[in-house]
């Protein structure tokens, strides 16, 4: 069997193993080591296993991941993000679908402290959905809007997926993170626009919230949440100005989150233990999978499959736009079944040589890829964010209702995606003006 054929069969076997409940990290690593053994012999495979995982993990740039996770878990466990929804609600509840709009804004705010979409959906789901249900919002709108707004977590920096993408695609982590800001805000704006238009056309979806809100109350709540914007601006500002690396901004953000929680008297032993536990579980399981992905990239490089595919693409003289359409279909299908990090690690080694051939910007592509992965989080049958919301709401809303509620937002997401593909400047504007 040629090495290209071994590479292709390896990918097939990998999908089978994933379907059979093999932990993603082990499936990636196992297939890769076996694949290298088949191409280069068992001693080469053993050498890969002794050297590569350690070299991959013992890596300075990668340390942005634990630090961002720590910052998010401290902000969450100490209650720093708790009042976001109340604040957004006091300011926005008069709009049509005001509570859903408020939950979207609050999610965007939460996303700026947390690097994970699932964490964003879980946190906002617990706070916002019960409120919307109390005001007799349409259950599909209430649950769908939160499931969808959770996906902002991986676009608005910090984003764990974006850090890993940047490391695997060998681009600047800070620039890649900054590239997510405008697309993240654009996505949020689209969601809000959709909610407002739908609720204006059909007020029954979201009965108006009749409550008198004083300006004093609006101002008071800002006093409660002010540390969060400060934290976010410090982290983003540090990276944007180039004074601090992504890792340093992340560590500084984590320390600031600890200090703010301490100054507010919320830093109990329980908060510290839970924050560390959450951050460690996230770091270890995410980077163990990333390590599997790194081994897969080695295996793919040995097999020559990515280079072969990029030659095929080159010979076919594919139009870049047509290529993007093809990629879209592949990512949407993969996203329906696989975990987002799995998809990313599976496809980066194959995509990067092709992107170089087509002379496409890797940072821009990273934004597009993450947007697809986010869509994968809300499409059936495997839509992790919808499952998370289902876990939060229990029996009061069915999974089908949640997926139906999400459908409308998928339309908004497709519009956003088309804009991001047609106008790469939306993603690349901030990275290019960075120092």
């Amino acid at each position: 069997m040629s090495s290209i054929a071994i590479g292709a069969s390896g990918l097939g076997i990998l999908l089978v193993l994933l379907a059979l409940r093999v932990p993603i990290a082990l499936a990636l690593a196992g297939v890769s080591v076996a694949g290298v053994a088949a191409i280069r012999g068992p001693s080469a495979a053993f050498a890969v296993l002794t050297e590569q995982p350690y070299n991959f993990i013992a890596h300075w740039t990668l340390s942005a991941v634990p630090m961002f996770l720590l910052m998010g878990s401290v902000a969450y466990n100490s209650g720093l993000t708790q009042s976001l929804f109340s604040a957004a609600r006091l300011w926005l509840s008069r709009l049509p679908g005001g509570l859903a709009v408020a939950s979207t804004m609050a999610s965007a705010g939460f996303a700026a402290a947390s690097g994970s979409s699932v964490a964003t959906a879980a946190a906002m789901g617990r706070i916002a959905i019960p409120e919307m249900m109390r005001y007799r919002y349409d259950p599909g709108l209430a649950s769908g809007s939160v499931a969808v707004a959770g996906t902002l977590g991986s676009l608005i920096p910090p984003s764990i997926l974006m850090v890993l993408y940047a490391i695997f695609a060998e681009v600047s982590v800070s620039q890649a993170l900054m590239a997510g800001i405008l697309p993240g805000l654009l996505s949020a704006a689209m969601f809000i626009l959709l909610i407002v238009v739908r609720c204006s056309l059909n007020p029954a979806l979201a009965p108006p919230v009749e409550e008198a809100v004083t300006w004093r109350a609006r101002m008071m709540i800002l006093l409660e949440i002010w540390p969060l914007p400060l934290l976010v601006l410090a982290v983003i500002g540090g990276m944007y100005s180039g004074i601090f690396t992504a890792t340093e901004s992340a560590a500084g953000g984590a320390l600031m989150a600890f200090l703010i929680a301490g100054l507010q008297g919320r830093l109990t032993v329980k908060v510290i233990v839970h924050s560390l536990l959450d951050a460690l579980k996230g770091t270890s399981s995410i980077l163990f999978i990333a390590m599997g992905g790194f081994l897969l990239a080695r295996f793919m490089a040995f097999s020559g499959l990515p280079i072969f595919l990029s030659h095929v693409v080159q010979q076919m003289a594919v139009d870049p736009l047509l290529f993007m359409v093809g990629i879209s279909i592949i990512y949407i299908i993969l996203g329906m079944f696989l975990d987002s990090m799995g998809i990313m690690l599976l496809t980066i080694p194959i995509m990067v040589p092709i992107l170089h051939t087509l002379d496409m910007d890797l940072i821009w592509f990273g934004v597009i890829m993450i947007k697809y992965l986010e869509i994968g989080l809300i499409t059936p049958p495997v839509g992790l964010n919808c499952f998370i919301i289902k876990g939060v709401v229990g029996n009061s809303i069915s999974l089908t209702t949640i997926f139906k509620g999400v459908l409308w937002f998928l339309v908004a997401d497709l519009v956003t995606l088309s804009l991001l593909i047609l106008f790469p400047q939306i993603s690349l504007f901030i990275p290019t003006i960075m120092k």
């Binding site: 993603i24 053993f46 350690y54 579980k281 399981s285 980077l287 163990f288 079944f337 975990d339």
Partner: protein, 178 residues
Amino acid sequence: MTAIRRLIIYLCNALMAIAAAAMILMMLQICADAAMRTIASSSVPGTLEIVSFYYMVSVVFLPLAYIQLHRGHVIIELFTTGLSVRATACLDGLVYTLAGLAMGYFTFAAFNKAIAMTHLGEFVLGVILVFTWPARWLVVAGTGLMSLVYALSAIEEFTRALGRNTPSDQTLSSEKGH
């Protein structure tokens, strides 16, 4: 069996505590280094090496076993949702057996490397000299314990497949009760 299980749980928690310490130290040292550079154009010597080789290796490899103990490693469940509880347990038992063997092999590879590097006295030379060979043993500790947890998980799943209650069922239900 219960004694072995208790010992494994104890070791998992111990490695988790070391990882937590590494996480805090990593945050403090990176901040101190960045502050020194910005304010005094100086640095905390060896930050890059210590963060990369000690803290990163600790926070990634040491929690692996603890996570598996709580079944926290990500799997895809979609294609096996139709299986009965016992069939799923049987499949998981098989998967964990293979996973235990694979992690055992990984541990063997890491152990070989650790022995070689310890003999060589592996170090990196940046601003200061940092010995890095002890970090190799962190990998051995993390993956070795994870192999043991997989073996334990496999036994528990096979017991469940045979229709009996396992200690982890009891822990899980008592955890839910809290």
